[in-house]
Symmetry: C2
Subunit: 150 residues, 2 copies
């Protein structure tokens, strides 16, 4: 796999900023593909998995659709339809919010929690296996990405 230039068969980039954009897009695809391999047997898409983790983080407190949307990795996605898919699999519940009838309370079900726990054991080794970096380098990369977005 090695360098980006080799991976996408491009000789060189005009400037390192341009290369960085392409590098992040490419690394994203690399990680998502690997993640997909783990999620597929569980019949979950990466974003469905993410929504379930958000709901688990609530520790039983219901959340609204828009709150889920705010916490999603992709702000332009469509939490409403994702919740629909998860409900069809009985991994989440939805209830009309009594205090504001525009809102809908979403909660993860026991079945959802069980699947997440199952997944976690599969995901544990995944990161270290797919990310070929030392702990120090991971920390550095994290802070650089945080700074990038300014």
């Amino acid at each position: 796999m090695g360098s980006l230039e080799e991976a996408i068969k491009q000789k060189e980039f005009k400037d390192p900023y341009n290369k960085l954009v392409v590098n992040i897009l490419y690394t994203h695809s690399y990680l998502v593909s690997a993640q997909n391999g783990i999620l597929k047997p569980f019949d979950l898409s990466p974003e469905q998995y993410n929504v379930l983790r958000i709901l688990r983080g609530q520790n039983g407190v219901p959340t609204t659709v828009s709150s889920i949307q705010d916490r999603m990795l992709n702000k332009m996605s469509n939490a409403s339809r994702l919740v629909d898919k998860l409900k069809a699999k009985q991994l989440v519940e939805r209830r009309e919010c009594p205090s504001d009838r525009r809102q809908v309370d979403i909660m993860i079900t026991d079945k959802g929690l069980i699947i997440l726990n199952d997944l976690q054991t599969h995901m544990e080794g995944f990161n270290n296996q797919v990310i070929n970096l030392t702990g120090e380098e991971v920390g550095l990369l994290n802070s650089l990405l945080d700074k990038l977005r300014g």
Copy 2:
């Protein structure tokens, strides 16, 4: 925007490897959204833009669909249909390859080249504006991402 934890309203991560995966997914979304803003007036999706750049890099030598696929940022995408869309906009041409009739030769048109040049002037300032890093940090980030993928 600042830290990832703040951006997606998560208190903390189990381990930095896990945070890194989420961080890359999130930064990807950040960059693609910004890129979309530039591409939209040109009626191009990010991946269509990428295919046009690949074809421009050929300097007039025709390429096959599978060669485009190999160089795409997302290996699982569908070059055939993307080429279709570009052909409908008259930005690429396709010809049956005489030496192997399974293959199709793809070339960027003059119209495609003109749009790319136009875009380039818009894209130039974009990177430095969106990426809040020094040149040194950009270099470091590039090499860390290359190493990540092993």
